[in-house]
Symmetry: C2
Subunit: 163 residues, 2 copies
């Protein structure tokens, strides 16, 4: 979202779009960052924990990240089109509860979403608020494969305490 | 580590080695997964939140992951050399508290470590135990730039309850 903190509504669900994981990109990510046999080749994955070639959980996370950034940029473009400066996002004080609840296999299409989970005032930083988002990815069968709670400082229209 | 659950000692600290982040790899990761201006070019980073080109936090995480996997493989090779089958690791029930406490700028050398943080018996899965590790990255000035708590199921030599 590139919305200002005041305009975020708890419960709002944003569809981020979907991504189909190809064999080539799964192997490419694994060779760079997660060279375990079930991420590197179909052959190596046989008889492994997952039984077939599947994406590194960190690859799934990185694809989710890309879709969030793209979403925020589209939202920002729309706000600029309406003559408004998009809100500044970041930095993040951290992420919580990363879960990879099912494997992402070659050819799986994962649909990602982001929901406004909670808003917290930050008295020590009156110019921003803390946004907690619940992010999820579901495969083509509707199974949850990925979730993470992100925390992000989001610019306010009006600093806290100023009326 | 490729050690069995019984052999892991709380407090043991493993040095995972270090990595120097180049401009090219920072930009490459950002173009794929995190195309925000402070990750894409020196010029775009000026006047941004961080003031200079810096790595995506997810890039730092992915580099840590690679060093963990390499460490575990070296440990596994050593165990095989001694005639022992390395313990099976995984899957992970999730990661907690990812923090990027300082930016990682071009040319920074980050030294990563992993400490055995806690061991939990898992009665529903007697063949494994749950390992919690505290993973950290420090830059060349000694500043903490990254931390995450990983959870991993680790094979036991002897299933829980068998004596």
């Amino acid at each position: 979202m590139s919305l200002y903190f005041e305009d975020l509504v708890v419960g709002t669900l944003a569809g981020l779009g979907s991504h189909t994981f190809t064999k080539a990109e799964i192997i490419d990510f694994a060779q760079k960052f997660d060279p375990q046999r079930f991420h590197l080749s179909e052959e190596g994955a046989k008889g492994s924990l997952f039984g077939a070639l599947c994406a590194s959980g960190w690859h799934t996370s990185a694809v989710w990240l890309r879709l969030v950034i793209d979403y925020r940029m589209r939202q920002g473009d729309f706000m600029r089109f309406r003559g408004e400066r998009p809100a500044r996002y970041g930095p993040s004080p951290g992420f919580e509860k990363i879960r990879w609840t099912k494997p992402v296999f070659v050819g799986d299409t994962i649909r990602f979403s982001s929901q406004v989970h909670e808003k917290r005032d930050t008295k020590s930083r009156p110019e921003v608020g803390l946004l907690l988002s619940l992010n999820e990815g579901h495969n083509q069968n509707g199974d949850l494969v990925f979730s993470v709670i992100s925390k992000m400082f989001v610019e306010r229209r009006t600093p806290l305490g100023v009326t």
